[in-house]
Each structure stands twice: as structure tokens, then as C-alpha cells.
Symmetry: C2
Subunit: 314 residues, 2 copies
């Protein structure tokens, strides 16, 4: 197995550029003062579909052969990857079949159908999702694009750190959240290629701490149960991302839900940014470990901003 | 009386540049589709102190003579101008005396004292505010910096449109909210100098519609009572701003509170931006008059983002 090289990642960036935002990097002297270090926030909450997932999905779709494109793409997801894949397919003018549990929130279904994705409902179990997806793929010949355990997706997510380091090359640390690990692995690859002296550190909710435990054990230990407000990070880390994370990630730091909410509040109040709980996890993990970051220049990827405004935790 | 020239405004921009953010201009294809035109949002919600007011206050403070600086500045305000003046004074290392009504919200007092401003409390009436301010000025020799009816403040606010048009010169229309009129007048001057074919249109809450009525009457007709969620726009338009507005503003369009809340929701949900109700008024006014803007390229100044997260209207 070969992981994307720097030139692969640069090619991915050129490939997806017409279809995604180059998101700004914002700073806040108020938060710097509170955190005791200098922070550079890469605002993927402003990304198309409201999350970095637009990058990986676009890259995966654009790399398909004409034959594959003709038959479309498929996935099972009720989160940002579903909307991102539906949008990427729509931009490419090909069908997207999205398997979603029958109890998925209306707003998530609307996002997918708004981009022209075809929703295939199934029972709300992982088994039903996988078997329904198999049926769809068999019937349509569509290519399955998994949310993170897939090289072209990791390659796409890696383009985010490319932009961050282009704008701020002199960082000591880059942080990203970890759920399935696609963003973290892509980030770690890019940072490793561009400047291996920059540490990559992940933030993970303590209520879904599989990546933290897996790093310590040296083997994937999936979550058995999860309980966290960071609903984008419930999934366990994938095999491909974990291989990269083991090699190139310095540490995984945990944050509790109250710490995540406090970090969200800082981002809303001080930076006027709408972020989803998962997007605030790295800042929360940093604030819970201030001494480690004291005086450093830290890039933080704010992964997404898709939050139900009626259910903000403050 | 001489209004700031283009070279005055450029000089102000150079003067304040080290002390304020150059805020980004963001776009949203989703909102463009809903609005039926192409929108460019100048994000002054990301500005220092969370509002464009940082520009005018910085400019006014930096233009003081050394003798004036030694005695400090004073104002009466319980809003963004109070915090902006306290911060500008703190950056310049001079005292700021801020007269605030005794019933001003704790959070606004904290913002002022957090920047080192000295709060002078008074009874919550306009008369008490004015007489307390006179006392402070007499006792300290501080220079009174009014929030909008003051040429150096208007000149500072004018730098916002300078940045917007530098980034997006080919606009058909530029929109700003109108309360006291400092931002609107500054915007109108800059746009007039750089490209008089661009129309300047204001958004105003229908529950505080003095500028709208004043434009029609050709004379200032202050608000007798106000009722709107846009708490930054309750004040009546000032004499100096009104003189500019009469000459260089094409129209003032009204928005109701439900329209303002709907525009806020669009900015939060689609653009992941925290804006205060006043900042959403121009978009609300545009959405209430879509036909007027159909197919146009419109720059919109999002004036601020200081909102109580516990009291969001959704």
C-alpha cells in the first residue's frame, strides 16, 4: 500500500481547487492571551458543505475513470461526508446514492437531497447500512467512497494543511480533531512532507477516545460505547488513517464535554465563528494542556460548522 | 465644514492599519442562490472589539495632538463605541473615561474595563449622561470623542469600504446599516470617490426608521420611540453623517424584526458567521427587496458580531 506523496497531495489540491473554498486563516489576540500561545485557525467551517469533508469527497469523485463516473458513487453516512459526496457528485454531474438510517435527522436528509443525492433508507443499524450499501453497489455499479478509510479521501483532506502551511509556514504544532482519522492522517502526511519538525497533535473527545487508546496500545481498539457532544467524532479510527497516525502524529490529547463547550463558546464569543462541537475539540484539548503549548505557534484546523442552532449548548 | 477627502481616508487607513484587522470578504453560493444576486460580505464582525467601531475610534485617538493625548479621551456610550474607544486609548497608552448608565449590562462594563477604560457611572438618562460627561471633560481635560457625529470617526469608518473595493472593485451596490450614520457616511464617501457609479444603499430597522423618514423629509426627524432587535441601531442619525447621506446615498430600505432574524439565521447557518442583529439588517433589507438587486454584484458590510449567545433569537 502506498500513501499519497507530496506531489500527489499537490495534484489533489489543483484538482479540487475549482470546487472548494480556499478557507481563511484567522487569529484572535484575545484567545491567544487566554491560551498562552499564538493560534492560527484554519476555518474549514467556511468550507463548502460546512466542513473539510468537501475536499476528500471532491478528490475521490474527480479521480474516478469515465467508466466509473458514468455509474456514480455511493456511501453510507448520516453526517458531513454524505452531504459532501452528494455535492461532489452533483458538481461532476454523476449520480450519488446515499444510504441513510431511517431515523436520520430531517435536516441531514435535506442537505443530501438538496445536492441532488439519491437517499436510500435502511434500518438504523450498522449491519443494515452495510448490507443496503452492498445492494445499491451491486444494482447500480456505483463506486463506494468511504468517509475516511480510503486513500483518495485522505489525499483530499491533506490539502487543508497544505493551504495552512502555505500561509503560515513557521508553526511549531498543527492540531486537528480525530474521529475516523481521515483529516488527521492527511494533515500528518502534509506536515511531515513540508516540515517534519512541526509536531502534529490531535484532539479527541474523552467520551469517544478510541484513537487515544489505540495509540497507546499500538493497535486499533474501537469504541464500544460513546458519549460526547462532538457528534462528528463518534466513529472509530480507520485502518489506513491509523497507519499514518502511528507514524506521524506526536500525541492525541483528550477533552471532556464541558471543555469542548467552553472552547466552542470562546470561538463564538471571541472570534464570531459558528463551529460544530467536533470542530472545537482541538482547542479544548489545547486549553486542557496549556503548559504543553506555552509560547508556541499552533495551527488549528476548525473542521466544520454544521450545528443545529436551536440546540446550541449555551 | 470639510468632509474627509480620498487622500484623508487613505491616510487614515495607513494610520490605523497596525491596530485593526484587515477583515476578510466572504461569499456564499447558497445565499447568492436564495437572494438572486451575487453578495460579498465584508466581515467587520471579525474586527477588533467585534465591530467596525474599532476603526473610527482608533483614527480619532491617533489624530490627537501630544497635548490632547496626555489628557486622554472621554465618551458616553454603552455600546460598541465604548469598548472601541477604551481599546484605542489603551493601545495609545492614554486614559479613557467612559460614562455609562448605572443599568448598563455587566458584560458591556466588563468589555470597557477589560481594555483599561475608566467607567464613570451615571443615572440612566440622556441628560445625566451628557452632564456627567461634561463634568468628566472639565475635570480631566480629556477630549470628547462622539460615536458618529465627528469627522475623524467618519473618516475611520470610511476605511472599511476602502478595503472592500480594493478586493472587489466591480460592484454595482454597496450596503451598510444605518444607526447614527458614521459607517454609512464613511462608506458613501469612499464609494463616491472610488467609483461614483456604484450605488450605496442602507438597511435600517423599521422599528427605528429615523434615517428613512429623514431622507424623505430632507431634514433630520429623530426617533421618538424605537422597538427593534437591532440594538446597535436605536440612535438617531447625526448631523454630519446626514449631510453625507443626503448627497451620496441612493436609498434607505427598511427591514422588520422577523426579516432581521431570518437574515441572521442565514448568516449563521449558511456562512457560519456570528453576527449581531444590527449586522444582519442590510441583508434583511435586501431580501425584502429582491427585485431591486436581481443579478447585481452587492458588497455588504457585516458591521458587528457582539451578541449575547444566551439570547439568540433562534
Amino acid at each position: 500500500m502506498t500513501f499519497p506523496t507530496l506531489s500527489d497531495i499537490r495534484a489533489a489540491h489543483a484538482r479540487i481547487q475549482p470546487f472548494v473554498h480556499r478557507t481563511p486563516v484567522l487569529t484572535s489576540s484575545a484567545i491567544n492571551e487566554i491560551a498562552g500561545c499564538e493560534l492560527f485557525f484554519k476555518c474549514e467551517n467556511f468550507q463548502k458543505v460546512g466542513a473539510f469533508k468537501a475536499r476528500g469527497a471532491a478528490n475521490a469523485v474527480l479521480k474516478l475513470s469515465p467508466e466509473q463516473k458514468a455509474k456514480g458513487v455511493a456511501t453510507h453516512s448520516s453526517g458531513n461526508h454524505a452531504a459532501a459526496l452528494a455535492r461532489a457528485a452533483s458538481v461532476a454531474g454523476i449520480p450519488a446514492y446515499i444510504v441513510m438510517p431511517s431515523n436520520a435527522p430531517e435536516i441531514k436528509k435535506k442537505a443530501v437531497s438538496g445536492y441532488g443525492g439519491e437517499i436510500v433508507e435502511c434500518e438504523p443499524t450498522l449491519k443494515a447500512r452495510e448490507s443496503t450499501l452492498e445492494d445499491v453497489v451491486e444494482k447500480t455499479g456505483a463506486t463506494f467512497i468511504p468517509p475516511f478509510d480510503y486513500l483518495d479521501v485522505i489525499e483530499g483532506q491533506a490539502t487543508c494543511a497544505l493551504e495552512l502551511l502555505e500561509e503560515q509556514p513557521n508553526l511549531d504544532i498543527v492540531m486537528a480533531p480525530v474521529g475516523g482519522g481521515g483529516l488527521l492522517a492527511g494533515t500528518a502526511l502534509t506536515v511531515h512532507y513540508l516540515n517534519p519538525s512541526i509536531q502534529v497533535i490531535a484532539g479527541e473527545p474523552s467520551g469517544a477516545d478510541d484513537a487515544f487508546r489505540s495509540m497507546q496500545a499500538g493497535a486499533i481498539l474501537p469504541n464500544e460505547k460513546t458519549q460526547t457532544i462532538a457528534d462528528g467524532l463518534l466513529t472509530s479510527v480507520g485502518k489506513l488513517p491509523f497507519a499514518v497516525i502511528q507514524q506521524h502524529v506526536e500525541a492525541i490529547l483528550l477533552a471532556t464535554d464541558p471543555q469542548i463547550v467552553e472552547a466552542m463558546r470562546l470561538l463564538y464569543e471571541r472570534m464570531k465563528l459558528v463551529v460544530e462541537p467536533s470542530g472545537a475539540v482541538p482547542l479544548a484539548a489545547l486549553m486542557a494542556n496549556k503548559e504543553r503549548f506555552a509560547g508556541k505557534r499552533v495551527g488549528i484546523i476548525l473542521s466544520g460548522g454544521n450545528v443545529d442552532l436551536g440546540k446550541l449548548p449555551f
